[in-house]
Amino acid sequence: MITGPALLLALLEGTVGAAVLALTALGLSLVFGVMRVINIAHGEFVMLGAVVAWWCSADLLDAHPLLGFVVALAVAPLVVGAIAIAADWLVLRRIAYDPERTIVATMGLLYILQQGVLMGYGPDARPLDPPIYFRVQFPWFGYSGYKLIVAGLALLLLGATWLLLSRTRIGLYMRATRLDSETAQAFGVPVKRVYATVFALGAMLAALSGVLIAPIRGAHYLMGADPLLLSFIVVIVGGLGNLRGTLLAAACIGIGEGMISVLFSPTLSKIIATLLVAAVLVIRPGGLARSTAT
């Protein structure tokens, strides 16, 4: 049943999914690349972003949803980034960023954040009104205008992150630490501060994607699981810590998932994505984009 309209829908769903996924996965990839920390709590930062967005637009400012959304775009990364810095200082630094212990530690962080939100915010899935609501009517079906805006904003944020990494001093520090943290330290790069910044930046990217998807999916304390799984798939397929590979993999997996979901079945797309991870791990353990590593 592969028809033109279905293909268009698949492309739309895939592009929106890929843009948001790229934003989330970039954070995870950055943290792994620079710090060698596998952050199991990454999905919870997405959830926190969505919860803060709900808090800003429905609770704090019961005005126009657009105002709440704009405030959330500023507040959520700050709040979540602060939590990440605290986690880095209280936990990760104490265990010397040991790769195995950080897995357990971030798993603990996952439960603390999830259960903390459950206690404070509650178990409900709370809806948010989209900041801008309009429907794009195609001849065969309609599509949410807000979803298209989400894709655009996610691409803008990705571009901004790219500029930060490639054009600023802190970006230079991050890249230097990623390549060789000891040499970087010898050249005067404040590695500890870079670690804290990177962990915060990763969390902020996740939080931003949480703010973006909250008006589509609402805010719910268990919503972190899905983005975590997909981000992991993207990061593994793209090559652990390889940023360009991450973006490439996010585009492939996001659009591929959208296509297969729409044209065949969403379950099949999850199966294929998981098989792809297995295949990449067996055939190209360094990730698909290994040869073009940055």
Binding site: L9, G122, P123, D124, A125, P127, S144, L222
Partner: protein, 430 residues
């Protein structure tokens, strides 16, 4: 300057004082429990296994509120069999494994007389088995059709709510006649959805309709547009029933997809339980129809008993929390908790149940029940009870969305939803 572990003038170390303070504080904290334990000898303990967290959380919240309100009313009426009722709530996280652990906790730690409350089919299936093993009477407040099909055991009852098979049997002639003949079903991908698929496909065929396509969506799904491309082009009507945290997203995306041009819609209120029908993005529902078990708006069932129930639970005439008009209840399900507790009251009083030793008398008393009259304890209406199948049958409502509200347009009789259940639990040993 820091002083290290200095003794106080009376010769006590700081550590000893701390320990003593801790012990006193501990006693203070334990006091209420010690008193309760003593007072509890005469109370009837009923355990509510609630979906407080997990994907059924919206239901769990209201199940707990409704049950607390019902227990308050029952206690004000003099309790059950003259004994005060104590409600003990445990969260099963809408999880089957956790559900069975909660059953054990109720049986061994709280030592409750009865348990009620599980709703989601995955949990019900697991805890029903455990209830039989523990011989602990369990009243499910779930619409699963497995009980009446004979899949459970003699200790499981459904006295507060009808099952999907009965609901679908009652409403499908109306749906085929008024909504459309070629129907696409969108269902959650687990036993509850399969009940809908199987029974609606069967009854639709008998009415001259046909099911065009069945789209099963996992209840944990958060994004739905991708499923809608599977809806066949020539379909007349969409029959939707979704559950889980994504229900509002589901209806919103359905609206975005079709606008006001799509096939006609008929849904089970499950797709919109705890969701405000007036929320932005739901305008397309105008004119569509929904099944309800207990009308959300007072206008749909404006009786003294319904008013009494709404007042006690704390919902307004729009079915939202009295304190917060945005907090919409799960009214088509939670009344089942209320009616279940009153059915327990009737069974205990009829059987002369005094404690777990009288369990068998209680089971037999419920099996001898033929129905419940409408009243304060059964505000949804008169009920018929088929004792051997442990299953209750009641009326159903079909409502139209009009002006962002639900208006009841059709009420089915008990007979419309009645079918001959396969189960005969009276043949099982106690």
């Amino acid at each position: 300057m820091r002083v290290r572990s200095q003794s106080t003038p009376r010769g006590l170390s700081r550590r000893q004082i701390l320990a003593a303070t801790g012990a006193v504080a501990g006693l203070q904290l334990a006091k209420p429990f010690i008193v309760t334990a003593r007072a509890a000898e005469d109370t009837l303990k009923i355990g509510l296994e609630a979906h407080r967290t997990g994907i059924g959380a919206a239901y769990g919240l209201w199940y707990e509120r409704t049950s607390t309100a019902a227990v308050k009313v029952i206690n004000a009426m003099g309790g059950i069999g003259g004994r005060p009722v104590e409600l003990i709530v445990e969260d099963d996280a809408t999880d089957a494994k956790r559900g069975t652990e909660v059953m054990e906790k109720f049986a061994n730690e709280h030592k409750v007389d009865f348990v009620f409350g599980p709703l989601f089919g995955n949990v019900v299936g697991a805890v029903a088995v455990r209830a039989g093993e523990l011989k602990l009477p369990l009243f499910v407040v779930s619409e699963g059709s497995e009980l009446a099909a004979g899949d459970f055991n003699r200790y499981v009852f459904q006295t507060g709510i009808t099952n999907v098979r009965s609901q679908v049997t009652a409403i499908s002639p109306w749906v085929i006649r008024n909504v459309g003949k070629k129907v696409t079903m969108i269902i959650p991908d687990y036993i509850f959805g399969y009940n809908h698929r199987d029974f609606f496909s069967e009854t639709a065929k008998a009415q001259g309709g046909e099911v065009d396509a069945v789209i099963a969506i996992p209840p944990t799904e958060t994004s739905f547009t991708k499923y809608f491309s599977q809806i066949p082009a020539g379909t007349d009507a969409i029959y939707h029933v979704m559950v889980g945290p994504g229900v509002l997203t589901f209806v919103r995306e359905l609206g975005e997809f079709f606008g006001d041009k799509g096939p006609k819609l008929f849904g089970f209120i499950d797709s919109l339980e705890a969701v405000d029908i007036g929320a932005p993005g739901l305008e397309f529902l105008e004119g569509s129809h929904l099944w309800e078990a207990f009308p959300r708006y007072l206008s749909g069932l404006d009786t003294e008993n319904a008013k009494f129930y709404r007042g006690a639970v704390g919902i307004d005439e729009n079915g939202a929390s009295v304190g917060d008009p945005k907090e919409v209840s799960t009214n088509s399900h939670m009344f089942g908790c209320w009616e279940t507790l009153f059915s327990i009251k009737e069974a205990v009083e009829a059987s002369g149940y005094k404690g777990p030793a009288d369990k068998q008398k209680l089971v037999e008393a419920i099996e001898a029940t033929t129905g419940y009259d409408e009243g304060k304890g059964h505000p949804q209406g008169k009920k018929q009870f088929i004792g051997k199948a442990h299953q209750m049958f009641g009326p159903q409502f079909i409502s139209e969305v009009k002006g962002g509200k639900l208006n009841v347009v059709h009420t089915t009789s008990i007979e419309d939803g009645l079918y001959e259940p396969k189960a005969d639990y009276t043949k099982q040993s106690l």
